[in-house]
């Protein structure tokens, strides 16, 4: 509590957003509105895309410029809840994040550059995974900014307080039935996402992630986080490096399935040629299309399953292959994904 108060009376480091704050301050002065509301409210009438992009850039930049320690709770409409303690440290060059699961089996993971290290104390097991996705997100942001404005209406939705911090609320309303909506709470001074709700097409909350407790701009050194996670001697080490591939190289044609979803990457799955995981994103939602030989899914059924919270799955047999789409999108979008796949002759 003392730390939280301390952080709130001592403003966050302002080295990066001087210009933006000035702009927002002048908007506030002119309109008498809170910062984000002003930027977005103006956006609906003139050049929504520019303001959405600016809001996204601010949200995206926050974890690159602010350290924090907090507890994040993820809960689903079915009542499942998981929580984790998060240490996030950044410098101009790097971001390091440690996530300790507080629910389920004990598990600590460290995201660092392109690597994810996971420790399983009960099994004395370490998994080291090269993880290209982390380094690539600035590119995704560039294309996602315009895609998000095109496929979601972005509206200010008032202000709130989350984990003791003042937050601006923004609602992202999908313009079609192929994606879910979101409500995003961002910390007023930094733009850090404090809370995120995924909304069903009918408007109910399917899943929400929120900090229950947060200390912002704490002194944290990335090196210290990395040192603290060096695996103890004698633990079993598993290394994996997802092998990148393309649908074409595995003998598949993937037609564009859902507007706004860009192909991100494809990875090989196992030794069998033709089996792969292809990842698509519209910037907010992610879909994986898995292709496996039929025998790996012996007696599975073709079905729609609501898996957990907003994550849905859809499986379909295609000749000698089993195609499963998994993603935080409505089943109708998953159906388009599994139907977009064709075996090349």
């Amino acid at each position: 509590m003392a730390d939280t108060l301390f952080n709130r009376v001592n403003p966050a480091p302002v080295r990066w957003r001087g210009a933006r704050r000035l702009l927002l301050a002048s908007l506030c002065a002119l309109g008498g509105l809170a910062s984000v509301q002003a930027a977005l409210a103006g956006g609906e009438s003139r050049g929504a895309q520019g303001n959405v992009t600016e809001w996204l850039a601010r949200v995206h930049a926050a974890p690159r410029q602010h350290n924090y320690i907090g507890t994040m709770v993820v809960s689903s409409n079915e009542g499942a809840m998981s929580s984790a303690r998060i240490w996030h440290a950044c410098t101009a060059q790097q971001q390091v994040e440690r996530v300790d699961a507080l629910t389920g089996p004990a598990r600590s993971s460290l995201r660092h550059d392109n690597q994810v290290l996971t420790l399983w104390p009960e099994q004395k097991l370490v998994r080291i995974e090269q993880h290209d996705a982390l380094g690539r997100f600035p590119d995704l942001l560039r294309s996602a900014g315009s895609a998000i404005a095109e496929f979601y209406a972005v509206r200010p939705a008032g202000s709130d307080r989350v984990a003791g911090f003042d937050a601006d609320v923004v609602q992202l309303v999908p313009r079609d039935a192929l994606r879910f909506g979101y409500r995003v709470w961002t910390e007023r001074k930094t733009g850090l996402v404090l809370k995120l709700q995924t909304l069903a097409l009918e408007g109910g909350v399917m899943e929400q992630a929120a900090f229950s407790e947060l200390q912002l701009d704490v002194p944290l050194r990335p090196e210290k986080l990395i040192q603290a996670m060096s695996p103890p001697a004698g633990w079993r080490v598993e290394r994996s490096e997802p092998l990148k591939t393309t649908a074409a190289a595995e003998g598949w044609t993937l037609k564009p399935a859902v507007p706004g979803f860009q192909p991100v990457d494809c990875y090989r799955r196992g030794a069998a040629e033709g089996s792969m995981q292809c990842v698509f994103s519209d910037g907010l939602a992610t879909v994986s299309v898995f292709v496996d030989p039929l025998h790996r899914h012996g007696n599975a059924r073709e079905n729609v399953l609501s898996a957990a919270g907003a994550t849905h799955t859809l499986a379909r047999r295609q000749d000698d292959w089993w195609v499963t789409a998994v993603g935080e999108v409505p089943p109708i979008a998953l159906r388009r994904f599994v139907q977009s796949l064709e075996r090349r002759p």
Binding site: M72, V74, S83, E97, L284, L305, A308, T313
Partner: protein, 190 residues
């Protein structure tokens, strides 16, 4: 009924493959035969372990179930304890039976398994004295009215969900939520 037949019967009952007279026979066997009840628990434990290591906590032992039946029989019809609770540490173990809508399960339609379980509970309650049988009977009716839809955790689906959370990345909003969620799907055994 010899040993082998009992095991086959319980196996078929656990798979939901029995109907009509065979079904009644299976339930009677569960109610009368200790070996049948042990086989029933073993088959379910095997199924749970195959589906997910998280479910491998095991099921109550026959001794526990006997005590539970006795305690249920001792309950007054209004649900109030007939006498001061003798073993305060025992009741919380009842709660280790997961609710049917607990989302740690991946839900899949398996016709009849829920009513099968309720029917087995009736079988057990036959062991105990009369008063306990009435509330159990109403529970059976309630479960059948509920449609009997049960979702089963699938290890293969868990693997896909974990791979999706792992390689899908945190998205533009950069929240650690996928990394928090990922723990749900990654069994301790991998």
């Amino acid at each position: 009924m010899n040993k082998m037949n009992t095991h086959e019967l319980v196996s078929a009952l656990a798979d939901g493959q029995l109907a009509d007279e065979e079904l009644s026979g299976g339930i009677v066997a569960l109610g009368q035969d200790l070996a049948a009840r042990e086989a029933w628990q073993a088959y379910h434990l095997i199924g749970d372990v195959l589906r997910s290591p998280e479910l491998a906590g095991g099921s109550p032992t026959p001794a526990f179930m006997r005590r539970l039946s006795e305690r249920l029989a001792a309950e007054s019809p209004h649900g109030l304890p007939a006498a001061p609770v003798a073993e305060p540490q025992a009741p919380p173990r009842v709660l280790t039976v997961r609710p049917a809508n607990d989302p740690v399960f991946r839900w899949k339609l398996v016709a009849g398994l829920a009513s099968m379980t309720a029917a087995a509970a009736v079988g057990w309650s036959l062991l105990s004295s009369g008063p306990a049988a009435t509330p159990m009977g109403s529970q059976l009716a309630g479960t059948e009215a509920g449609g009997g839809a049960v979702m089963i955790r699938d290890a293969q689906l868990d693997e896909l969900l974990a791979a999706h959370q792992r390689l899908g990345g945190p998205g533009v909003l950069q929240t650690p939520a996928p990394f928090v969620r990922q723990a749900n799907f990654e069994g301790a055994g991998r």
